[in-house]
């Protein structure tokens, strides 16, 4: 079995959770394109699932019940969901608002709600940090309540532009949508594209939040940026803003072309690309 050289060394750390979140996402994106690496990871996961004592894993109480509760709490009936694109914007059915709140759509992804509950808790209850761990401990039991209350909380949070804006932002990334596997329809990709196109709020918050990924390129990379228009240009450099997806494609091309680059990855959904002249 032939493995790619670039990613072979990252596959075990990926499976073992030893990579940074940004690296995890890069490997995950690569798996969608590389059957050989995909096969290795699939088998590592299968080994893990069949490992002695995997069956003895102690699950939190009521796990299956809480999964089913979340499924039953979905507002959109299955038949309707199946006839639309894959990632149904559940938040948009609940909130008849302008589509300029795409991150609310992601918040409808219930797990995101749990994160929001934890984040909003300290923020809106006067910094009572002890509430956050308590909320975490109750996750399994209260996800249903959390979904409702966090959607409300998110509504309040939207205009607030709190200092934790960046965390709301990361909770609302396209990646927060449960990712269907490569074998499934192209729905998720289309959805991510439209999500990113409609997310000016999100990008602004990221910029204000301060933590944006930055990719620095030498002059010879200029041709690879031919498809993009710089947002800013001086004598010494040109600055571009790329989506995470475009950036991933770009870094692949850079690697292929053997061009060195520096990526300061803050896991933002937008990447600032600086092309030196």
């Amino acid at each position: 079995m032939k493995y790619c050289e670039n990613f072979a060394a990252l596959l075990d750390p990926f499976v073992d959770g030893e990579l940074s979140p940004g690296e995890m996402a890069r490997v995950q994106a690569h798996l969608d394109e590389c059957p050989a690496c995909r096969a290795y990871v699939d088998d590592a996961l299968a080994i893990r699932a069949a490992f002695p004592d995997a069956e003895d894993t102690e699950l939190p109480d009521g796990f299956a019940e809480s999964v089913m509760a979340r499924i039953q709490a979905e507002a959109v009936p299955r038949a309707e969901a199946a006839s639309q694109t894959e990632a149904v914007p559940r938040a948009e059915t609940a909130h008849k608002k302008k589509p300029s709140r795409p991150w609310l759509k992601a918040l409808a992804s219930l797990a995101a709600c749990c994160a929001i509950v934890l984040l909003v808790g300290p923020l809106f209850s006067g910094g009572a940090k002890t509430e956050a761990p308590a909320a975490a401990a109750d996750t399994a039991a209260s996800t249903e309540r959390a979904m409702v209350s966090s959607e409300e909380a998110a509504e309040e949070a939207a205009p607030a532009e709190a200092p934790a804006a960046e965390t709301y932002y990361t909770a609302g990334t396209a990646e927060a949508e449960p990712q269907a596997p490569a074998a499934a329809a192209a729905g998720p990709e289309e959805d991510q594209a439209s999500f990113k196109a409609n997310s000016p709020d999100v990008q602004m918050q990221a910029a204000d939040g301060g933590s944006i990924s930055t990719l620095t390129l030498p002059p010879e990379a200029a041709s690879l940026l031919a498809d993009f228009a710089p947002v800013e240009e001086t004598d010494t450099e040109a600055r571009y803003e790329l989506t995470r997806q475009d950036c991933d494609v770009l870094t692949e091309s850079l690697t292929q072309a053997d061009i060195a680059f520096t990526l300061d990855d803050a896991d933002s959904d937008t990447v600032l690309v600086i092309l030196e002249k």
Binding site: E55, L59, D61, P133, A184
Partner: protein, 202 residues
């Protein structure tokens, strides 16, 4: 390696049968949780990722075409969910330690026929045999990683190895065990004629 009953549940769940899907959840929940807990760093993330994996499975089932086995597909969703959860992760360490105190009760599996229980037990046995047959160096690191959920750094400490050695032993141990999976029919090899010649990624 899909048994008849599981196939029936999958077919039913694809048309929206929640009870059938619940059987699938019960059937796979421990393995999925084992997976996520060994990929995420704390129990809270692991549980969240496991839940998300099943949610994604429910949503994606109508589109599941069966070109990979159901378990393979589900485990991919689980690893995707781990990546998503880790990317959103800002949770305080304190939250994780509280979760450790949760009462944990084993839930009953979705009931399988004796034949199918035997099949699953057989795969487990294959892996156990495979582990026993591994060179002790490889077995040791895999057990520390998979059973005891140690990080690479911890394994390096425990065994007084450097990180590179830990990684390469894990890698070789897994590759050896893949052969076991091949024999028991769980090996997910892409079409050999296409992939062995292909350049793969650059």
């Amino acid at each position: 390696m899909m048994d008849r009953q599981e196939q029936n549940w999958i077919a039913a769940a694809q048309t929206g049968d929640q009870d059938a899907f619940e059987q699938l959840v019960r059937l796979y929940e421990k393995r999925v949780y084992a997976l996520t807990s060994r990929m995420c760093r704390n129990p809270a993330d692991a549980e969240e990722a496991a839940q998300e994996a099943f949610l994604a499975a429910w949503q994606g089932l109508p589109f599941f075409r069966g070109d990979a086995s159901f378990s393979t597909w589900l485990y991919r969703l689980a690893s995707n969910a781990c990546v998503d959860v880790l990317r959103r992760e800002v949770r305080h360490q304190a939250a994780a330690s509280l979760d450790d105190e949760d009462a944990a009760i084993d839930l009953p599996d979705g009931s399988l026929s004796p034949h199918d229980e035997a099949e699953r037990a057989e795969l487990r046995q294959h892996i156990e045999n495979g582990l026993a047959a591994l060179p002790p160096d490889y077995r040791q690191v895999l057990i520390l990683r998979e059973l005891h959920q140690r990080s690479y750094d911890e394994i390096a400490d425990i065994l007084s190895l450097d990180l590179g050695t830990v990684k390469s032993r894990i890698n070789r141990g897994r590759k050896r065990l893949r052969k076991i999976l091949l024999e028991s029919g769980n090996f997910s090899v892409p079409p050999a004629s296409k992939e062995s010649e292909k350049e793969g990624c650059k």
